[in-house]
């Protein structure tokens, strides 16, 4: 509890007035001073302000970006609260809808009041929804009690997922059932080829229609459905951003879409986040893995660091042999380029979806000047050439395109 500055001012004015009245023998000055003194005494002797008990309830703690969550703040006043200032401070990425963020209420003793706020979540992230600041004054507003409430619940806003029909797959599959036709023939559904019967083969594999046409025993070879390993590489070292959006926002949405699509095809998917700290999720499959990766993606923030990053730090089991690495990067940091080249040299298949940073750098072009800008563009072209020469497939993802466009372009190159 703190005293308002007015209390001090009143005390000083009253003291000065009384002293001046005594010194100058002017009763009027003492009378005016008494006019300040008596309310001050009354205010200080009255009951101190007591904040109501506050409870915060969220309608949901997990939702998809673009969704809405209702926050209910219940205030139960034990004592009368003639002036209660309630301020809701939302996290940066949340937008309140309708109700004012700051309200001044009056609560009677024993009164319970519920304030409702509708909060829109336009961008993914994991955050404390809001901090609520309560400030109550006593009857004459000479003392103030304040309290800040942080709801314990963490709101998780998952990135929206685009449906992807065609995906780039690794050339090699792993010996586990999936939806991807294996390169080697075996027991499966997908037709591979017709060949002559070899001694010792089972008679049920004979294709009698083809045999009748050719006059020799032919068998049908099929491709077994296998799964493969895919690692999504998310570059969080650098991002180009405007006030509304950044390349990282789009990269995270793309990572969520890719994860969902690959997992739907029963592939094993892992995550490697190349940012301030190197973080990873071991490849796995199933819905649980999807949520694990989605939760990890929510923690993605641009981490500007000057520490050395090396792919030698990545444990081997994070990147299974012959897995496909799909990198989502704006190619703004040379350390990312170097890491991807290293991975390629270690024998992994690497595909890059370049999140086009140019629409976010309109101001940079004007600031740097045309020559510097063109030089930088040429350097980017040189990086792309270097990546292509190393056998890395690279497609550019423009701002206006859906994620399906570069992913299908990647699939078409394989």
């Amino acid at each position: 509890m703190t005293f308002e500055r007015r209390a001090v001012v009143w005390f000083v004015v009253a003291s000065a007035g009384l002293l001046a009245g005594l010194a100058t023998a002017q009763p009027a000055l003492s009378a005016v001073a008494a006019g300040f003194l008596v309310p001050l005494l009354y205010g200080l002797a009255s009951r101190p302000p007591r904040l109501p008990e506050a409870t915060v309830r969220l309608s949901a703690d997990r939702l998809i970006e673009g969704g809405r969550v209702e926050l209910a703040l219940t205030l139960a006043a034990v004592d009368a609260c003639p002036w209660l200032d309630v301020e809701l401070q939302l996290a940066d990425r949340l937008v309140a809808d309708g109700a004012p963020m700051r309200r001044v209420l009056a609560l009677d003793a024993g009164e319970t009041r519920t304030l409702e706020y509708s909060i829109e979540c336009p961008r993914w992230g994991a955050f404390r929804v809001a901090s609520i600041r309560l400030s109550a004054c006593d009857r004459l507003h000479l003392r103030r009690a304040e309290l800040s409430i942080e709801p314990a619940t963490t709101l998780r806003v998952y990135p929206s997922v685009d449906r992807l029909r065609r995906l780039a797959g690794p050339r090699a599959t792993r010996p586990a059932t999936g939806s991807r036709p294996s390169a080697a023939a075996g027991e499966g559904i997908e037709f591979a080829e017709l060949r002559f019967l070899a001694p010792g083969e089972r008679a049920r594999r004979v294709n009698w229609r083809a045999t009748a046409a050719r006059g020799r025993l032919l068998v049908t070879d099929r491709l077994p459905e296998r799964s493969s390993d895919v690692v999504v590489f998310l570059d969080a070292l650098g991002a180009a951003a405007t006030n509304a959006e950044s390349t990282l926002d789009r990269a995270v949405r793309a990572a969520a879409s890719l994860t969902e699509a690959y997992l739907r095809r029963r592939d094993r998917v892992g995550l490697l986040r190349f940012g301030g700290d190197l973080e990873w999720i071991i490849p796995g499959s199933g819905t649980r893995q999807q949520y694990r990766i989605a939760d990890a993606l929510l923690e993605s923030e641009v981490a500007r660091t000057y520490r050395w990053r090396d792919t030698a730090l990545i444990p081997r089991r994070i990147l299974p042999p012959q897995s496909l690495i799909v990198a989502l990067t704006p190619l703004l940091d040379w350390r990312v380029t170097r890491a991807l080249l290293n991975l390629r040299r270690r024998g992994y298949e690497v595909s890059i979806v370049e999140v086009d940073p140019l629409p976010y750098l309109a101001d940079a072009e004007a600031a740097a000047g045309p020559i510097a800008w063109r030089t930088w563009l040429l350097e980017r072209d040189a990086v792309r050439t270097q990546l292509a020469a190393a056998g890395i497939t690279l497609v550019s993802w423009r701002r206006e395109q859906p994620i399906a466009a570069p992913v299908e372009a990647l699939a078409a190159t394989r």
Partner: protein, 129 residues
Amino acid sequence: MSGKQFRLAAGVTALALVAVLGALALVHGRDAPDWSIPLFAAAVLIVCELAALSRATKPDAAVERPAVTAVLLGRLLPVALLAFGGASVALLAAAVPVRHGLATGLLGAVAAAALFLLVAAVARRGGEA
């Protein structure tokens, strides 16, 4: 009522009151009667309170009607009445013919303590109510 409107209303009222007080001071000057001093003290306190209200309320806040009523009846009115009462008592005390001395001083101190206790008791009762 929005905080901006509340601030505006409080500020305008304070300015209007200052203007009225200023006009009265110009008209009467040094000839102001003694009985107007408590009223003057109450008016000054109200001006101070209105100025504080107009500054303390945030423009983006939504001030609900019960809070406005509570401010008018629970803050401005008691302050004005207490200021009026305090100034009146002080004037009356000054008007009492006394002889200066130790007994008078002690009597004054006892009267001040009694006044404080009275105010405190009234405040406690008001808070409980």
